[in-house]
Subunit: 237 residues, 2 copies
């Protein structure tokens, strides 16, 4: 008998079935009763597994009727709700990063309050131009507290910092606060993105936290307004 978490695994299996189109005929999942029998688990596990899929927007419930399959992404749009790094957003495409600068320096007064740390705390400041299939998509400036990210190099920054943090450093990421707004491009930003100063842009500012609630990253990303659209789900309950 396996003694691992059952419901996450079950959620994954069901998600696979959805992607395989196994429920396309009815548009909904098997009943909880059937899922219990199919996978030999209790109702608790089934409901937990389905709850995972609800949160990710893969299904929605209709009491008395069933769990219906739902699209949780949009063609050509970046996902806002579940950030897993830009690389994960473009499965078929080439995601590259040009590292414009990478420095280890004190956080400074301006960011210290935002990062809830001392101004003298050390941090990696990274500036990258993110390219998708060779075209500039976004200009990113990110500050990682050294306390949590002990090492960062230009070579790593050229790839996916996100995957490095999770897979190599084993960082237990938790959640992020995001602020979005439209603005005008500065001349420096415009040049990097291949646009003109004053052109529109979409700005996303992230405060990123570990699972234990400690903030480790503050970032500001300026997106090319013609190439970046975002998709997200909202609950209206």
């Amino acid at each position: 008998m396996t003694r691992t978490v059952q419901y996450r695994e079950l959620a994954h299996v069901i998600k696979q079935s959805i992607d395989d189109g196994q429920f396309r005929l009815t548009g909904k999942l098997p009943t909880e009763d059937n899922l219990m029998k199919l996978y030999g688990v209790t109702r608790y596990c089934v409901r937990n597994a389905v709850a995972v899929l609800q949160e990710s927007g893969d299904v929605y419930p209709v009491q008395g009727s069933g769990m219906f399959v739902r699209e949780n992404k949009r063609e050509g749009c970046l996902s806002l709700g579940q950030t897993r790094g830009l690389s994960a957003e473009f499965p078929g495409k080439t995601v590259q990063s040009t590292v414009l600068s990478l420095e280890l320096e004190p956080v400074g007064d301006a960011l210290a309050s935002r990062l809830k740390c001392k101004a003298s705390d050390m941090a990696y400041n990274v500036q990258r131009l993110r390219l998708v299939d060779g075209l500039p998509l976004a200009l990113e400036r990110s500050t990682y507290l050294k306390r949590f990210i002990p090492y960062l190099s230009e070579e790593i920054a050229q790839g996916s910092i996100w995957e490095y943090l999770r897979n190599d450093l084993g960082l237990n990421t938790g959640f992020a606060d995001k602020v979005l707004y439209a603005d005008r491009l500065s001349s420096a930003e415009a040049e990097a993105l291949g646009l003109n100063a004053g052109d529109p842009c979409l700005v996303v500012e992230d405060d990123v936290y570990l699972a234990n609630g400690e903030m480790f990253d503050a970032s500001r990303v300026v997106y090319h307004y013609e190439r970046a659209k975002f998709f997200t789900l909202a609950d209206l309950k």
Copy 2:
């Protein structure tokens, strides 16, 4: 003994306590055990109540340590995750709407596929300028299927359509798909918002669904880029 849903009520009570600052000293909720004893409910109810607060971003869990209180809104920002109408976003301020047009007409080919209905289906098309404390914040064009919204008037549209749908029509709203991007203002849009043609703007396109999964509203809102910022939470698990 009340036979109503306990956990929603409990969630509400806990939320009140949070807002009252009762957990400010420790920064976290009482333990599950204590909540059980405090409110005389089982652990199931406690965990469900806390799960509600987790989803809304009011708390986050740290296994072995506690449920910590978290900010789920940002000063001067609109909430993206839980739309309850613009009026609900500005508790202290005056939210007005100038109705630019309101017509009952067939959906037409362009919107029919998006609304998953026939082109001949009737719908209310509403255009409104949303003002906060007298200043133009956004220009909204929304299409409501008559099948679900049998009546709509200019008087209603001057107030909160959202509250009308929920409180008066008793509509059981479910969820919304949102697409966000930056763009340039057309001359008509610019004039309404008090800006210049070609200026940046933030566009939000919504597909809004009932709890049973039927889509009843398609909208496009163009926001004043200097006055509208959005705040949202992301899960990184």
